[in-house]
Chain length 341, copies 3
């Protein structure tokens, strides 16, 4: 199962990585992350080139990581720079792969492709994790035993909430929704407007303005390859626009772990109830209910059935699948381009 | 590993299936069972044709089952009849496989083969689960990680009880047994008569007549393809016949789950101690001791060793294996006939 | 993954095997061990030739082991000698493989190759488990999910202790060590001398002589194919020899379970603190810390990474690997010789 390689993927939330090494598999490659003395994040292959011991069980010395087995130390470039044993001769040819890594706005982004093509300019903008005077975040990490494109399909699909997440969309909501999918170059946008509805539970939770009978609801999902999805949900007085109401901005950052599992980082930033500490917990619980208890079991059964049954299952795309279908086409094209090189 | 398809298999005890869908894999196919408003049992493929979501996590609406992911509803024929999303256009081509299913005497029988050949006349008669003035049942379900033919061998084999189930046959019993295996068309019968023996523990448990010193014991196992096995055990005054004594009639209904696992439904009906409520529990415990604690571990190790070692292990059939060998030959012939079509 | 077959391997500590059968997989073959009435150890294939039932669940009768399923009894040669069923005809062709087994000095050695070549003269001498007036043992069994040659590499490698086992070697110790690997026919010897060092923790624990400021340390690892490794560690007054100090003699007896797992039996005999009962426990804890908590996780990750990544990982042997490399060459040569026959 191929993955898009020449892309930045989230390896961790910034605070997950310190002087204790963190082990995480990405695109089926075992990676160890740690920080230099200056606090710079470093990402190396977790497999010691000497005897395949797991570097993540080792100890950080200054800017280097020592293998737990024989103490060979590797610098941030992956070069072996220290051998504590016998004559201390350094095996010059011993080096581990080093991955370009960039910390930005509370996220560690790792470049999984050809080093020469790593350009931090292409890292998606995602500053939601940083609180500000107009924004307050909650966030989380979820492990899902499903291929990341099943999550992409899920997130671009505006209709499944009505069945699976009553917290998000009420019964009959999609039939009243003005919905379109559009594509701007490689960006796929799924856009839904639900005019003059009684406010849905999740947006009613965010609402901190005066009493309101009905609201316009706007749901915009923006996908960028390979797996950076931004969902904004807004409610505002009918006929006005989102700046007149409340908005939750929800980043979904998917990193393939293996062909059948995904690291799922999410951040949800609200522009309301900014001083309301206890609401953080309530909102986190609601989002976990959505992702962990409702979406995840479906995704994992899909993975099971698709792995087992393969093409025996005919697919019947519905209108709501248009986003996922387009995103998959972009990925297919990019994969073909990567293969040609 | 092929299975006989043009047969009725037990999917569930009737009371296992209600308005909550039940998920069970049969012949390696994921199946969901539920009941219509009128209480009719329905069996569909568990895999939604839209995106392979698991239908068993969905909700029953009237006679239809709604997919938990997007709410597509499927009627008992498997046809998609409702789409709650957007324009509510029904994807006409979307249908799941529907399995003929018949409830009879407390069992749900599912036809796993070609629909045109499903004929409820061929459902095995098995009314043991229904109490009557002359019969009182206990029953159970056991999951066994072994190919169903290992269970068939076990059940047709009258000798293993002496070693494995002292509750059933005493030491030396088979050497005193008049034993024969006969075949009537595709029915294999294993018949054992043990004359004038001190009554064995299980039959002594059933015995509610006057004092008896010794009894004739009769054990008859009747196998019908693919995996419907009826065992009757009787004790009666020497020289009389089973109607003069007590009889336990034990149906064993095997449904292959996968090539290496089996759903094992059993019903044991007695014609004695008909008013004895507490004895139900005692008898159930004894039968579970036999099936779960004694037979199952052996069957699962057999499966492990046969899977691993395959034909490396030479087989040395004993006299007691004659039943299993004949049943396997009938299955082989029927499999060949199914393949030819 | 081939194994060397014409060798004696440890199947169990003597006291593990009695009249209760013991099940253990060796070189990927399921083996059952038990004792005859006279107390002689017996090793048979665990797979009944009748229907592949697991003999280890059966019962020992005199010198024979009865299959738990049908009661066929097998004598120490593996021949079926009893059939309790029906006419009690013994299936003469039914026999299980019997393995030559020899109890010596508290160990059961099993010959895994061609019976004609089994010669107890070739059993490695290993009398460490027997206490004597000059020696007191502790011992243990560890299951490791790694190929046995990863353990061989580990044990012949004198440098990893400095990083992984500070209890054994202090920082910088190997740089002060006089180290050589030599080979005498098929025996590989890794020899390290550490002169005039403050005594290391493990040897300081063994030390029961007068006060000593510094000691010479000697570590000798002797490997014999396929996987019998003897490690002696000594501390003694500088310039004298090991007979003037204390010595721990540590046998490591590795038996491949599967291509990815190993039975690891160890015995550690000391020639000091001979009357010190509580020290047994302290020493056992320290050795388990070394093997179970420090070595084992590394070995199991190595196994994982090597299984997954195979030859993609370049190996950069260091000086300390010379022993393991030579041992692997001996094994390769012996494997080729076994294949030719």
């Amino acid at each position: 199962m191929p993955f898009l390689r020449n892309h930045w993927y989230v390896g961790a939330f910034a605070e997950e990585v310190g002087h204790e090494p963190l082990n995480r598999r990405m695109l089926d490659e075992p990676i160890v992350m740690y920080r230099s003395e200056a606090g710079e994040p470093i990402a190396l292959s977790d497999v010691c080139p000497h005897k395949s011991a797991p570097l993540h069980m080792g100890v950080v010395h200054g800017d280097t990581l020592a293998c737990p087995y024989h103490g060979l130390r590797f610098d941030p470039s992956g070069q072996c720079v220290h051998n504590p044993n016998f004559d201390r001769a350094i095996p010059k040819a011993a080096r581990v792969r080093s991955y370009p890594v960039k910390e930005r706005d509370g996220l560690l982004w790792i470049w999984m492709g050809e080093r020469a093509k790593a350009d931090t300019v292409t890292i998606p903008l995602c500053d939601l994790a940083q609180p500000s005077v107009t924004s307050r975040p909650v966030k989380g990490y979820i492990h899902v035993k499903a291929h990341y494109e099943l999550l992409t399909d899920n997130l671009l699909d505006q209709s499944h909430g009505e069945t699976l997440h009553p917290y998000l969309l009420k019964e009959g909501a999609t039939s009243r929704m003005q919905f379109e999918v559009r594509q701007e170059r490689d960006t796929v946008i799924s856009d839904g407007l639900l005019p003059k509805e009684p406010i849905t539970p999740i947006l009613s939770g965010l609402w901190d303005r005066g009493p309101i009978d009905r609201a316009d609801h706007r749901f915009i999902v923006t996908w960028n390859a390979p797996s950076y999805i931004l969902l904004t949900i807004s409610a505002y007085p009918p006929g006005s626009n989102s700046s007149e109401g409340v908005t939750g901005t929800n980043a979904h950052l998917l990193t393939p772990e293996t062909a059948g599992s995904t690291h799922y980082f999410w951040i949800f930033a609200r522009d309301s109830r900014l001083e309301d500490d206890p609401f953080d917990e309530e909102l986190t619980a609601a989002l976990n209910q959505t992702f962990v208890n409702e979406d995840r079991p479906i995704l994992e059964w899909q993975q099971t059935y698709l792995s087992e049954l393969g093409d025996l299952v005919k697919r019947h795309p519905l209108k709501a699948d248009a986003g996922g279908v387009r995103a998959r086409r972009v990925v297919e094209r990019m994969l073909a381009a990567e293969r040609q090189k």
